[in-house]
Symmetry: C2
Subunit: 119 residues, 2 copies
Amino acid sequence: MEYPKPLENKSLSLIAERFRVLGDPLRLQLLHLLGAEEMSVGALVEASGASQANVSKHLQILLRAELVQRRKEGLLAFYRVADPSIFQLCDLVCGRLSEQFRADLTAIGMLRHPDVPRE
Amino acid sequence: MEYPKPLENKSLSLIAERFRVLGDPLRLQLLHLLGAEEMSVGALVEASGASQANVSKHLQILLRAELVQRRKEGLLAFYRVADPSIFQLCDLVCGRLSEQFRADLTAIGMLRHPDVPRE
DNA sequence: TGCTTATATGCTTGATTAGTTATATAAGAA
DNA sequence: TTCTTATATAACTAATCAAGCATATAAGCA
């Protein structure tokens, strides 16, 4: 019996890696914060409650994946979301999770702030 | 200064976990295969080229996440996709990756088989 | 009762990774 | 120059995880 030609391993790995980058709570929180506005590392540290080193490292991961962009201004480094499609991804996941858990997770519904226009 | 109220840690972890389940090439391949049709474990083993134990273990992970469903028939266990929204997720990711890598990854465009209608 | 086949599950190993601490880099101020 | 501040990075630890091998479970057949 013939099975459909499998996707290239390389392609599968690329897709998987993108999902893995999104598979960490702190990175999601940083993206959530950056969904509202461009922020400096220090502001992200304060807002997230995580350590400076940890925030910086996760920002590098997001940067390498090209999910965020960086802008230097004097001593400060400002980050912003480079790929708004992540919010569509999160909305899809949130929607499914809400169904799965019968809705008592309303906070889940909006990873991005509702008052910020999408795309 | 006031920052937007962070999402509940629990919510972020739930969302992250869902992404993490999708963050493995073999699991994506299994979902890809199951996107075409319900399949037994043995068929998945043959089609994927992975070991029986490994396929079985990854299927349990997908099952726990409720991304697939299981049906027993005699000695066989048939799996099928329980949550078609994963294909929307993959399409979104594939679309972005194609842009990012300037399109020479056309195979990436369709994680689900094009001839299967999408939900 | 065995015997066989399909699937699931322990156990172990090696690789990856999130987090901490300490330090390095880089840029402005004195 | 030296001092300070913001950010990045290196080294380390602990936890997680994929994969291999072996074995257990479960269902049909002799």
